[in-house]
């Protein structure tokens, strides 16, 4: 079974985010890392291919400046190859165009039995790319998976719902979007990290893939204003001296909760 995982490479979320005042997009000039949300998809793919007893895990990513460090992490975990779409023309690309680009990258790899993405990325969290990608590729999809199994050519998913979960099945090929925590992502081994250095990553432009318009030209939206939200003020902060609970009781009383 062949699986393609969408891996987004993002600025380290531990660093404070900032908008570039001139382009009004998220600053992405530093080193990019593998979005933790996608590490679950990579792990899931490796486990499913392992269980199927054959096949390969490939990656698709769209990122600025020919950045591959996040992809290398996924390759070090065990993925075999990747396609990176990197092109200055892509700046300002919206989610719909991102899906069209990723679809073209998937086709460049010759498609797959299963495509995996995260339910939403950590930096943009638009939360629509996987389902848009499935529609562009003409594939069925099961979103918000909290467990995934493949039995022959049947995909079996427990799909998170607002009230609990649904058991959903689908015949491959298909796309699935996975929630955080579905599996425990492995740490790349030293051997894996060394091997990843020589694994093939094919870097292409939007034009190579024949997708246009892209970037600001293709986006159906523009940012017109950036403002500050009204900040919440901190109140009384006290060290617990054993009587901290009584402060809470008094506060609840003053708010007439008790």
């Amino acid at each position: 079974m062949n699986v393609i995982v969408c891996v987004k490479q993002i600025p380290d979320p531990a660093l404070p985010g900032a908008l570039d005042p001139s382009t009004k997009t998220l600053k992405r000039d530093g080193k990019l890392i593998l979005d933790e949300s996608d590490s679950y998809g990579v792990e899931m793919a490796l486990q499913l291919v392992g269980k199927a007893g054959g096949g390969e895990v490939s990656l698709v990513s769209m990122a600025p400046n020919g950045e591959t460090s996040g992809m290398r992490t996924a390759l070090a975990m065990g993925a075999a190859r990747g396609v990176l779409v990197s092109d200055p023309a892509l700046q300002g690309t919206d989610a719909l165009t991102t899906a069209k680009i990723l679809a073209a990258a998937v086709q460049k790899l010759g498609g797959a039995d299963l495509i995996i993405a995260a339910t939403e990325s950590s930096d943009g969290y638009t939360g629509t790319v996987p389902e848009q990608l499935a529609e562009v590729l003409g594939l069925p999809s099961i979103t918000f998976a909290k467990s995934v199994d493949v039995d022959g050519t049947t995909l079996k998913v427990n799909r998170q719902t607002e009230a609990g979960f649904d058991e959903v099945t689908c015949t491959l090929p298909a796309l699935v979007s996975v929630t955080a925590g579905v599996v425990e992502p492995r740490y790349p081994s030293f051997k894996g990290i060394m091997a990843a250095k020589s694994k093939p990553v094919d870097t292409v432009t939007a034009a190579d893939l024949g997708v246009s318009p892209v970037g600001w030209a293709g986006a159906g939206q523009e940012i017109v204003e950036i403002g500050q939200a009204a900040a919440r003020q901190a109140g009384e902060i006290v060290e617990d001296d054993g009587e901290g609970y009584a402060k809470i009781v008094a506060f609840l009383e003053s708010k007439k909760v008790i």
Partner: protein, 317 residues
Amino acid sequence: MKVWVYAQQAEGAPTSATLELLTKARSLGDVTAFLAGDASGIATTLGEFGASKVYATGDLGGHLPGVAASTAIKAIIDGGDSPDLILFPQSYEGRDVMARLSVKLDKTVLTNNVDIAVDGSTVKVTTPVFGGNVLVTSSFNGDGPYLAAFRPKSFPVEAAGGGAAEVVAAPVGELGATGGAKVEAVHVEEHTGPKLDEAAVVVSGGRGLGEAGNYSTIETLAKLLKGAPGASRAIVDAGWVPYSYQVGQTGKVVKPDVYLAVGISGATQHMVGMKGSKTIIAINKDKEAPIFGIADLGIVGDAQKIVPKLIEALQGR
């Protein structure tokens, strides 16, 4: 302006997100609702909140709504009734339907919004970024239909008092290859007490509780305060509590009178889900924890010591 609201129902009534969007939509133009399901039980309420008409697919026969509802909406638009704007709830169903529809119509989506303004034919939506400290307003380019999704609790709920919405059948038709996913079984988690997103008091626990077994103190506390227990994503991912407990960007948005955060650091993704609370109390052993930056009352200390005393004091009343 012709405005559609993507409606959802639960337990025989429109969801609160649906009523919020209808209330807002009324101020923007003529309102039509769309429902993936049977609308006969909710047409009256949809009408009271301003929808003159509701397109309804009827039972989806086990199909997921993403493909089915977007196909039905595309068919209505191709048939000549095209909205200028469709408002979606930022729910699983809303996200999937708008994503599929955006490809079918080749239109962009704007998600995670908390506000909308219409100025002539220009539609602008506002979304908070960086944990809500910065508000970004975007406008749609080109022609509609414009597709926008809104976080829960973005708008107040007010009935307008209209008659029942006219129910118009919107059959799904042939779905082809994309419609291959089938729901085989539905599991609903039991819950007692007030709903997390409706409760007047919410008591949430995080990784600072130390271990899964300690979460029961949060439940006890919530019960004593007639509130609902909630959680950070860290302990949902760790499997301590089900996802339905999660507060935050990818969980529920809550705006209770009192929000009590126990052992929660206050990551931006958590704060977007609770900073609209009327008052916030935090217990955390780290006085630098970001949650204290928005707390009305903060107790710096060990939750394992403070919470049992608090429970005892409340039980004694």
